[in-house]
Symmetry: C2
Subunit: 293 residues, 2 copies
DNA sequence: CGCGAGCTTGATCGGAGTCAAGTGTGGTGG
DNA sequence: CCACCACACTTGACTCCGATCAAGCTCGCG
């Protein structure tokens, strides 16, 4: 299960990749790349030589860090996709989030010195590694880098809220809709198509992420397809009706009105509209709403 | 709904509060207090005079910041309890977390310049407010403060994972058990009793936090009482069987074995043991577990 | 080609959402 | 001090969604 195909490739600097396992790294270049990745200006690149920014490459399925492992570094995803997860005693794996390019990993370890969660690559991937000690004094060495990293941390926190948003939905189809929309947003932020993309994770991981059984993931996806909102082929997903999807995602209650009934009976286009309107115009007084402020 | 009882008291420096017990207090002392609260050493207190750390007091139910509000400051809870939440179009309120003494609030706003979530005081409370701009250059002015704040951010991230942990549980009683345990931990960290405490939030907020209906919160709490794990009187909670509670909280699947049946039939003590053992020793092969690494 | 993992589909049943009353409980004002 | 009200909380009944168990199916890979 946890095979390490080529252990010697797990940690190495970029120079090391090019020239051999023991090469010295031109850290400055890495630091500049990292700043660029994080979207900050690179006006201040002096003093980065001793930043010790290294690159680590991982194969699909490889572990970036284990749960409970001592935290040496923070990571910024350079390529590929990761899943963060924790494992229960009985082996149940709770997926806490998926991370892609420019996402920060491992920061939740800073406060305890060890990683509270594990992280694994879902495909061949690579990350920048920044030693925690370096991060702490980052502001003095490179304010722009510090600024960028701080932003990344904040973004991480925000993404965690998104996860809650997904799990908060009561109906399985709504969870799925929200998940697809979140993934779509991420794709857009990465400059890729927001309407056609490939899910990098298996159904089981999605299930854990959404808090449903993996059979339910299949059924929910199927439902969205039947309603003409999506087209799904394996892990390839295309959004056919963006507004309809968003309307569905807005539902906060279990019963998704008559959507399922009407849509299941009819077929495609006109049905889509009914889904849209039904999901959008639900003036139900929202008994569950608490405006206690 | 959003009444501001005394607008002039909402934001003030401690100096403004000079009428308080200790008389006039310069900002530097605020910074020192804040560092102390965050648990850092206060070896470097110079250069804190222009830190602009202010104190804001809130009444029960008052909003610290609204969803979408421009982010001026970060906040560290000095006293009281807060809830972070986002509001859906239909008025449904999703509670993202509860925060207490020394918790950091508002950091998820840094990456966008405005608060993605709202925050309200659940009781009379007060916070330290640190301007975002100050935070960015904090390391140069006060490394120890910077260190402490960074730790706080990391802790915030960790707490968000805890929330996922709560919502990930399938059975309602398990969610409740995990929630109670988390709250117990917080109480302990604050130096208060981990076995007896008062929930500061209403059932409805708990429900939103756990991702269940508020009626289910009542029923779940009741179930824990019936099983002899807890005693509940209004918002006062006492943990009667800590290990049993933890055993229950470990369940990852819907069916909590015969706990409910056996416990509902019998009464208290011996039942507790059966709950304990039943919850602990469940060697079921965990079909849902994915050890895909 | 065959194996295995991932994925889909079907059948069943129990838990929890929903609706609907009731029962405190705290705050306000007469 | 009590009446009153709004709100928080509890309890019951009913229905239905989704977890669970159980086969098949598909795809990728050795």
């Amino acid at each position: 299960m946890h095979e390490h195909h080529e252990p010697n490739t797990s940690v190495r600097t970029l120079r090391a990749v090019a020239c051999g396992p023991k090469g010295v790294t031109p850290d400055g270049d890495h630091a500049a790349d990292l700043i660029r990745l994080l979207g900050a200006s690179e006006t201040e690149l002096h003093g980065l030589d001793n930043m010790s920014v290294t690159v680590r490459r991982l194969r699909s399925g490889e572990i970036l860090y284990h749960e409970g492992a001592v935290a040496h570094s923070l990571y910024v995803v350079r390529a590929g996709t990761f899943k963060s997860f924790s494992t229960a005693e009985d082996g149940y794996e709770q997926v806490l989030g998926f991370s892609g390019r420019s996402d920060l990993l491992g920061f939740d370890a800073v406060c305890m010195g060890q990683h509270p969660t594990a992280c694994a690559a879902l495909e061949d991937a690579s990350v920048y590694a920044v030693p925690v000690s370096k991060f702490m004094t980052l502001d003095r060495q490179s304010p722009s880098m510090h600024r960028a990293m701080t932003m990344a941390v904040s973004r991480t926190l925000r993404q965690r809220s998104d996860l809650v948003d997904v799990m908060a939905a009561v109906a399985a189809e709504v969870r799925m809709a929200r998940f697809i929309l979140q993934w779509s947003n991420r794709m857009r932020e990465c400059g890729q198509s927001a309407l056609r993309f490939r899910l990098r994770m298996c159904r089981r991981d999605i299930a854990s992420h959404l808090g449903v059984a993996h059979e339910t993931v299949s059924r929910s996806l199927n439902a969205l397809v039947r309603w003409g909102l999506l087209s799904v082929a394996n892990r390839e997903v295309a959004i056919l009706n963006f507004d309809g999807l968003r309307a569905l995602a807005r539902n906060t209650r279990r019963h998704v009105d008559e959507i399922s009934g009407a849509a299941a009976a009819g077929s495609s286009e006109t049905v889509v509209n009914s889904v849209f309107s039904a999901a959008v115009s639900r003036p139900r007084p929202a008994a569950e709403a608490s405006a206690q402020g």
